[in-house]
């Protein structure tokens, strides 16, 4: 059996024992079994694409967070924590929590009461076919491309860490995902995401626990980091951001607050259908509002298993890790810090649990991609543009086929990425191109009833075009970095923050200008779609502890406390 998994590679980080393999195989068997069990419940379109809209706030909330907690996310952000220190935690705190609370309290009621199947579906209702079609086509394309690139990147990690053959990793994991999502639709995807959530926590939590025991607690860890990297500040979040040159990321606090917190995070958490689809599966409007808020508490805790292991790596690893592009034989890249820490503390059994958590993370991320792709293709491209009227069973069958087709496109993209390494750089930036302007379009549409169809389309197009243009200008001529990112010292993440900020601003300006030049729709056509014309149910008779507003404020208060503690 071991031969099946391993290509003989002496440089691999870890060797799995029989018990580790049993743990991994049991996970595959369980998710396939769940998929076949759930197939009987996914009969109608609402069942298959929205899990019957009957998930509780807890299940929808965990799936919401989990869809974003893929293994590359874990490996990448642990690597970023090693490279940039605790600054990386901004992407989990100010770069997530306010946006999740905003989604729950402000935007979810609109998505929910208009009974849309997707974010492009909302755009269809609010702005018509042009803006919706643009958003749906770019989302569908990007989703499968991202899925393929992530698949390849994960297979590379499995090869480096365990010596697994790349083709074997890609085909086995993606076919498993294809089978259970095609069988149970969003039911399967959500069940798997909840399982993955627990697996990741219990697979990775031992690293910070044992790491803090080894270093003698937080103070001991900080002392060791200062000893290993004298003169560098890796353990403060806001202090080192008073200027671009005073932190390893090359970012100013304005980039974090406005670029990350106000635009990129808001765009991702409120308009990326991959995550919003999980909340749309909630059983009622209160659950839909509570789900992202419940998710925000778990998201706030994720740095414990992602950022802290990266910091502990700075303190305890005997070698210095290097950027992926500068690897020499015998060296390890930043992104390998989490597997290195796993191997450092986990022997047989626990190692299998940790590896299963990584594999499960990848599979859940892919399940999220293909289920979102199937929904957007079927409801926002196929139905409005190709076959307008057909029985519900026809669209469910189309969704099942799309799952399989999306999977094979992803596998094809993975092989393309294998052949053209630079493709990965570009594709990984693709979502950034679309999310920030989309947020501007959706938010203006919800809050301002005057915005017109044409304004929605042209604003979205202008924002997206400006984002792509800024990316390539900065990529090919560093002179532009100082212009768009406000400093020549801004690194990749800092550049992305300002790129988001300016592209959203472009979208808003163009949308407003076109709106002022075009004729708005009558109020009766906008009922339930904009703030001033929506009858959002009030929860006057529920106790304080049952109000989403109360828990949203608690989440924001905790966020403030964390910022002060790690200032």
């Amino acid at each position: 059996m071991t031969l099946l998994f391993a290509a003989a590679d002496a440089s691999r980080l870890a060797h799995l024992s029989t018990i580790d393999l049993v743990i991994i195989i049991f996970y595959f068997a369980l998710v396939l079994g769940i998929g076949f069990y759930l197939k009987r419940f996914a009969k109608t379109g609402e069942d298959f694409f929205l899990a019957g809209r009957e998930m509780t706030a807890w299940v929808a909330g965990l799936a919401f967070v989990s869809a974003n907690l893929g293994s590359l996310e874990l490996l990448g952000w642990a690597g970023n924590a090693y490279q940039y220190g605790i600054l990386a935690a901004h992407w989990y705190w100010i770069g997530a929590i306010p946006a999740m609370v905003f989604l729950g309290l402000v935007m979810m009621p609109f998505y929910y009461i208009c009974k849309t199947h997707s974010v492009p579906g909302y755009l269809q209702l609010r702005y018509g076919s042009a803006a919706s079609g643009l958003s749906a086509i770019t989302f569908a394309l990007m989703t499968v491309l991202m899925s393929g690139v992530n698949m390849y990147a994960m297979a590379v990690v499995m090869k480096v860490v365990l010596g697994w053959d790349i083709n074997f990793s890609m085909w086995v994991s993606s076919l498993t995902v294809g089978v259970y999502v095609a069988a149970g639709g969003l039911f399967s995807a959500i069940f798997n995401e909840v399982l993955q959530f627990f697996l990741i926590w219990f697979g990775a939590l031992l690293i910070p626990i044992l790491g803090l025991i080894e270093t003698g607690g937080w103070k001991g860890m900080v002392a060791r980091i200062q000893q290993n990297f004298p003169g560098q500040d890796f353990t403060h979040m806001w202090g080192p951001m008073h200027s671009f040159s005073s932190n390893p990321m090359g970012i100013h606090w304005t980039g974090i607050v406005f670029g990350l917190g106000a635009v990129q995070a808001m765009g991702y958490w409120t308009t990326d259908f991959l995550v919003v689809q999980r909340v749309l599966s909630a059983k009622d409007i209160r659950s839909a509002k509570m789900a992202p808020i419940i998710g925000s508490f778990f998201k706030m805790a994720v740095p414990l298993i992602v950022i802290l292991p990266g910091l502990l790596g700075l303190a305890v690893l005997p070698m210095h890790l290097v950027p992926g592009g500068q690897l020499q034989p015998g060296q390890h890249s930043y992104d390998e810090v989490l597997p290195l820490m796993l191997v450092r503390y986990c022997g047989p059994g626990l190692l299998g649990l940790g590896v299963t958590a990584l594999v499960a993370g990848f599979m859940a991320g892919m399940a999220g991609n293909v289920s979102a792709f199937a929904t957007v293709w079927t409801y926002d491209i196929y139905r409005p543009f190709i076959k307008r009227t057909a029985p519900d069973t026809h669209y469910v069958a189309m969704g099942r086929w799309c799952t399989i087709i999306g999977l094979f496109i992803s596998i094809g993209t993975a092989y393309l990425a294998m052949k053209f390494a630079s493709l990965m750089d570009y594709v990984q930036n693709l979502f950034g191109f679309f999310i920030a302007p989309l947020f501007g379009t959706v938010l203006l549409g919800m809050l301002w009833k005057r915005v017109t169809h044409a304004a929605g389309f042209w604003g979205l197009l202008a924002g997206t075009t400006s984002s792509v243009t800024m990316f390539f200008l900065m990529k090919f001529n560093p002179r532009w970095v100082a212009v768009f990112a406000l400093s020549p010292e801004a690194k990749g993440l800092a550049q992305a923050m300002y790129q988001s900020l300016w592209s959203c601003a472009t979208c808003v300006v163009v949308t407003v200008l076109v709106t002022l030049m075009t004729k708005s729709r009558p109020d009766q056509e906008l009922r339930g779609l904009v703030y001033s014309l929506a009858d959002v149910a009030k929860e006057e008779h529920t106790s304080v502890l049952h109000k989403p507003l109360f828990w949203g404020l608690v989440a924001l208060a905790l966020l403030v406390v964390l910022q002060i503690v790690f200032w």
């Binding site: 024992s17 018990i19 049993v22 743990i23 049991f26 996970y27 369980l30 769940i34 069990y37 759930l38 419940f41 069942d47 019957g52 009957e54 998930m55 509780t56 299940v59 039911f187 959500i190 069940f191 909840v194 399982l195 627990f198 697996l199 219990f202 031992l206 044992l210 025991i213 080894e214 059983k283 305890v316 191997v343 450092r344 503390y345 986990c346 022997g347 047989p348 059994g349 626990l350 299998g352 649990l353």
Partner: protein, 71 residues
């Protein structure tokens, strides 16, 4: 979890996963008790108490959310 469909709660599957993993990890920890793996802090026998914790949580979830009880 389900009102329209009578689906076994996802928490039950979480319980099964924890229970099986707990047993496997605890057994592995006990088997290597006298000659621990060559990992850092192996003397703390993390697989034993972590496996025990998973068994406890798994059992609680399995009992609380067992299929018969839900309906």
């Amino acid at each position: 979890m389900s009102e329209k469909h009578h689906i076994i709660p996802v928490w039950f599957f979480v319980g099964v996963l924890f229970l099986v993993y707990g047993v496997l990890i605890l057994a592995s920890g006990l088997a290597e008790w006298s000659h621990p793996a060559g990992t850092v802090l192996a003397e703390l026998h993390a697989p034993v108490w972590w496996g025990g914790l998973l068994i406890m949580l798994g059992a609680i979830y399995c009992i609380l959310f067992r299929p018969g009880k839900q309906s």
